[in-house]
Subunit: 168 residues, 2 copies
DNA sequence: GCTTGACCTCAAGTTGACTTGAGTTGGTAC
DNA sequence: GTACCAACTCAAGTCAACTTGAGGTCAAGC
């Protein structure tokens, strides 16, 4: 019943071949078997991949996502975890809003240098304060970087030159 | 006037010694000089570090942040960039809200397995769709993980198994 | 029969942002 | 004056999540 080569899975899911093999290796997905050498996937893998995507977007690591799948590949997330995650997302959203406000302010503020603007200093302080209040176990920064400028594992072949004003 | 050893900077800023040295190495911060071997920092570095924090929270890479400082260490961000970033944050916020809603739904949904819940499937689909619509330059997932569960550079001694709430 | 192309394995490399470790130096307290 | 300890340098390691590369297999088409 409707088994797919890995190539079809990539084209239907958007995940790369190497990512799929990696996912299989770490037990995140399962192939239905082999045809010769070739992995065969059944259609359910596409849904699983969506879930994985979802989990990634939500900020779970692949290991955590893996732990959310039951043995049969179905979802198995304790509802309490979900509530916690939702709450966490809520806090994150709040923080991002404050941040956006600060940035917007800076963009509109007429002070010659932002550092000279007392409002900005105040915003800065409030944002840092927020950081300190929220439990930050090892002084790590948060990581908000979205898919709009995802800079984790950015492939080296893609030069950063095409973005508005080439940082790098 | 009021120069600090690196140790004082770490205790006042929360940044680690090694991070500070690293920042200096890549030109993000500057020491005011040396006293013997020891770097001396003046108080302004604390503000700079706040800005760096801010930039990181906003999702800029250190390289990008570096490019925002003028030679004299003052801020120098083109306002258009800021507007763009604010808009980006706005999109990010929207997305996170949808995500939170989805997660909340899953948590409350009585279906035995989430995959069987048509509503969940719908939410899944809408989130994936959103991902596709928003410009995703390298097909990477977004990274939302906040400081509440900072999972970049997470020390390996932390096993991924203990998850239920304590995101440490 | 031979090429092609999609797939395979396995090891090693990549990325950013640090951290760790080994071995050294020098200011300060006793 | 010497012990101590914070700082130093420099190289190498870490982490997650893949990607890349070299070399191999196999079914299909000419």
């Amino acid at each position: 019943m409707n088994l797919m080569d890995i190539g079809e899975v990539t084209s239907r899911s958007g995940a790369s071949v190497s990512a799929l093999r990696y996912y299989e290796e770490i037990g995140l997905i399962r192939s239905a078997g082999r045809r010769g050498l070739r992995r065969q996937f059944d259609a359910s893998v596409l849904l699983t991949l969506s879930l994985i995507e979802l989990g990634k977007v939500a900020g779970f690591s692949l290991a955590e996502i893996a732990s959310m799948f039951a043995n049969d590949g179905t979802l198995n997330i304790p509802r309490a975890d979900l509530h916690a995650k939702a709450a966490e997302l809520g806090r994150q959203i709040t923080k991002l809003r404050a941040l956006r406000e600060a940035i917007q302010h800076v963009a509109d503020c007429p002070a010659p240098s932002h550092l000279e603007c007392p409002n900005f200093r105040k915003l800065l302080k409030s944002i840092s304060a927020k950081k300190v209040n929220s439990r930050t176990p090892r002084g790590q920064a948060s990581q908000v970087s979205a898919d709009l400028s995802s800079r984790r594992h950015r492939p080296s072949r893609r030069k950063a030159a095409d973005s508005p004003e080439r940082y790098e």
